[in-house]
C-alpha cells in the first residue's frame, strides 16, 4: 500500500466517522426540536422526516395565501361524506343545540363548549384555498374561533405538543403540532362564505388548518385532546391518516 492510498483511506474513514456522528447529532437535535413526525418509521420515514423537518424549519410562522372575495369559488365541491346516521340527524333537527365540543388532556381546566358558547367567542375570517390530496381545490371564506383562543381559555399546559381532534365520525381523527394549532389561521370553523357551515362541508364545526390538505380539515369536530405523546393513540402513528396509508403531515 503506498502513501497516497493510505492517506486517502485515513481521510475517508475520518470523513465517514464524522458523517456518522453528524447524523447522530442531527437526529438528536431533530428530536429535541420536534422535527420528527409520528409516522417517521418504515420505508417512507426518511422522506417524511425530511419534509416535515424542512417545513418546520422554513415555514413555521408563514401564513397561507389569502384571496379576494371575487376569487371565492362559485362551485365548491364538498366531497363524499360517509353516512352520518340517525343520532346526527336528531342533533341536526334540533339545530345542533346539543352539540358539544369537549376539550381535555394536558389542559389546566378541561371544558365542554356548546355551539352557542363557541359562537360567542371572538371570531376570525380568512378567504383561503382548500386542496384535496387528489388534486382538486376550491376557495372559500372560513369564519370561526381561532383554535389558539380555545387553547388559551382552557389553559393549555406548556408541555403539550399536539392537539388531537376527533370527529362525530369515529374513523376520522387527526392531530397537529403546536405550530399549526397556535397558527393564526387555524380555526374551529362555524361559517363558510358568510353562512352557517353546511353539513356536507363539515357543519356544524370543522377544523380548518389553512396550510394542510383537505384530510387534515376534519368535519364534525366533537373533541380536542392535548398531549405530549401520540404513541399511545390508535396504532401510534399520530392519526387515522397514516393508519390508512396517508402521510400524517399534509403540508405537502
Amino acid at each position: 500500500m503506498n502513501k497516497l492510498t493510505r492517506r486517502r483511506m485515513i481521510t475517508a474513514s475520518l470523513a465517514a466517522a464524522a458523517g456518522a456522528s453528524a447524523l447522530g447529532v442531527a437526529a438528536k437535535l431533530a428530536k429535541r426540536y420536534g422535527l420528527i413526525p409520528p409516522d417517521s418509521g418504515g420505508i417512507f420515514g426518511p422522506g417524511e422526516t425530511l419534509t416535515y423537518a424542512a417545513q418546520r424549519l422554513l415555514t413555521r410562522h408563514s401564513v397561507a395565501r389569502e384571496f379576494s372575495r371575487s376569487q371565492i369559488s362559485r362551485d365548491p365541491f364538498a366531497n363524499e361524506v360517509d353516512p352520518l346516521g340517525e343520532e346526527f340527524q336528531r342533533l341536526q333537527q334540533a339545530g345542533f343545540a346539543d352539540w358539544r365540543l369537549v376539550v381535555d388532556g394536558m389542559v389546566a381546566q378541561p371544558a365542554s363548549f356548546s355551539l352557542a358558547e363557541l359562537q360567542s367567542f371572538p371570531h376570525h375570517s380568512h378567504i383561503t384555498m382548500i386542496q384535496c390530496e387528489e388534486g382538486w381545490s376550491y376557495i372559500a371564506e372560513w369564519t370561526g374561533v381561532p383554535l389558539s383562543y380555545v387553547l388559551q381559555l382552557v389553559g393549555a399546559l406548556p408541555q403539550a405538543r399536539y392537539v388531537v381532534y376527533r370527529s362525530f365520525q369515529p374513523d376520522w381523527w387527526e392531530s397537529i403540532d403546536m405550530a399549526d394549532a397556535l397558527h393564526p389561521q387555524t380555526l374551529l370553523a362555524l361559517r363558510m362564505n358568510g353562512d352557517e357551515l353546511p353539513v356536507r362541508f363539515g357543519g356544524p364545526l370543522r377544523m380548518r388548518v389553512s396550510r394542510q390538505l383537505g384530510y387534515k380539515n376534519v368535519k364534525y369536530i366533537t373533541r380536542l385532546t392535548l398531549t405530549d405523546n401520540l404513541k399511545r393513540l390508535g396504532k401510534g402513528l399520530g392519526s387515522a391518516a397514516p393508519e390508512a396509508g396517508y402521510a400524517w403531515y399534509a403540508g405537502l
Binding site: 417512507f44 426518511p46 422522506g47 408563514s62 376569487q71 388534486g135 396550510r211 403540508g251 405537502l252
Partner: protein
C-alpha cells in the same frame, strides 16, 4: 474488439445517473397513480368536478366522485403513491444538487455538455436532426463525446425541465407557498402549477423514450456498460 481507453463517465456521473433514474421512475409511477384519482386538469387557482376542465385524460378514476364516463372505479393507490412521490422527490433533488454542484466545479458541464460555439449553427443542428430521423447509427467517435444536438438536449433537461418540474411541484404544496407565495402566483395559480407539472412530466417522458431509443440504436450493451463501469469501447479515446 478495440482496447479500453480511459473512463467515458466519471464515478460521480455514473452514481448520480442511476440514482436519478431510480428516483425519476418512482416519481413517474407514483405521479401517474395520483393523477388517476383525479384525471382532470384546470387552469388558474382552483378546479374541481364542478368546474370545466382545461383537458381530461380519458381513463377511469380511482374515485367514484369523478365523472369519467366509465362505470368502474379503479383501486385507490394514493397513500403509498404520495409517500413514495415525496421521498423520491427528495432523492432526486439531493442527488441532482450533488451532480450540478460537482459538475460546475469539476468542469463536467464545460467539458462534456457545453457545445462548441462553432457547433451551434442551424446547419450543424439540421444535419444532426436529419441523421437522427434516418435512425443512422452514430459514428464511433460518438461513443466518446456527445454531438451538439445531444449536448443541447441534456442541458435543456438538466437546467430547464428538471428545475421547472421541481418548481411546479413545490408550487402545489400549501405549506411551501405560504412561505413563498410568488412561486405559485407567477405560474397563474395552484391548478396551473399542477397542469404544468403534468405537461413537464410528458416532456421528460418523451426525453426518456428518445434517450433509450438512441441507446438501443447505438449499441445497448456498450452504452449501458459505459454508464455502469465507466469504460467505453471505441477507437478514438478522448475521455
Amino acid at each position: 474488439m478495440a482496447e479500453l481507453r480511459g473512463l467515458r463517465h466519471s464515478l460521480l456521473v455514473r452514481i448520480t445517473h442511476w440514482l436519478i433514474t431510480l428516483a425519476f421512475l418512482a416519481l413517474l409511477v407514483s405521479g401517474l397513480e395520483i393523477v388517476v384519482s383525479h384525471p382532470r386538469f384546470y387552469w388558474g387557482e382552483t378546479g374541481n368536478v364542478n368546474t370545466a376542465p382545461l383537458f381530461k385524460i380519458p381513463i377511469a378514476a380511482s374515485r367514484a366522485t369523478v365523472p369519467t364516463g366509465y362505470g368502474s372505479v379503479l383501486p385507490d393507490q394514493n397513500g403509498w403513491s404520495r409517500y413514495l412521490h415525496f421521498q423520491s422527490a427528495w432523492m432526486l433533488v439531493l442527488t441532482g444538487l450533488l451532480y450540478v454542484v460537482a459538475g460546475v466545479f469539476n468542469g463536467h458541464f464545460r467539458r462534456n455538455l457545453l457545445p462548441a460555439l462553432s457547433d451551434v449553427s442551424a446547419k450543424r443542428l439540421a444535419s444532426f436532426i436529419a441523421q437522427h430521423l434516418r435512425f443512422a447509427r452514430p459514428s464511433a467517435e460518438e461513443a466518446w463525446s456527445y454531438n451538439v444536438l445531444q449536448r443541447l438536449t441534456y442541458l435543456l433537461v438538466i437546467f430547464i425541465l428538471f428545475p421547472l418540474i421541481i418548481w411546479t411541484g413545490l408550487a402545489m404544496s400549501p405549506s411551501f407557498v405560504s412561505a413563498v407565495p410568488a412561486a405559485v402566483n407567477v405560474l397563474g395559480g395552484q391548478q396551473s402549477a399542477r397542469t404544468l407539472h403534468f405537461l413537464l412530466t410528458a416532456a421528460l417522458v418523451l426525453f426518456l423514450l428518445v434517450h433509450v431509443l438512441m441507446i438501443l440504436l447505438s449499441g445497448f450493451r456498450d452504452r449501458v456498460r459505459a454508464m455502469i463501469t465507466g469504460h467505453a469501447v471505441g477507437p478514438v479515446g478522448r475521455g
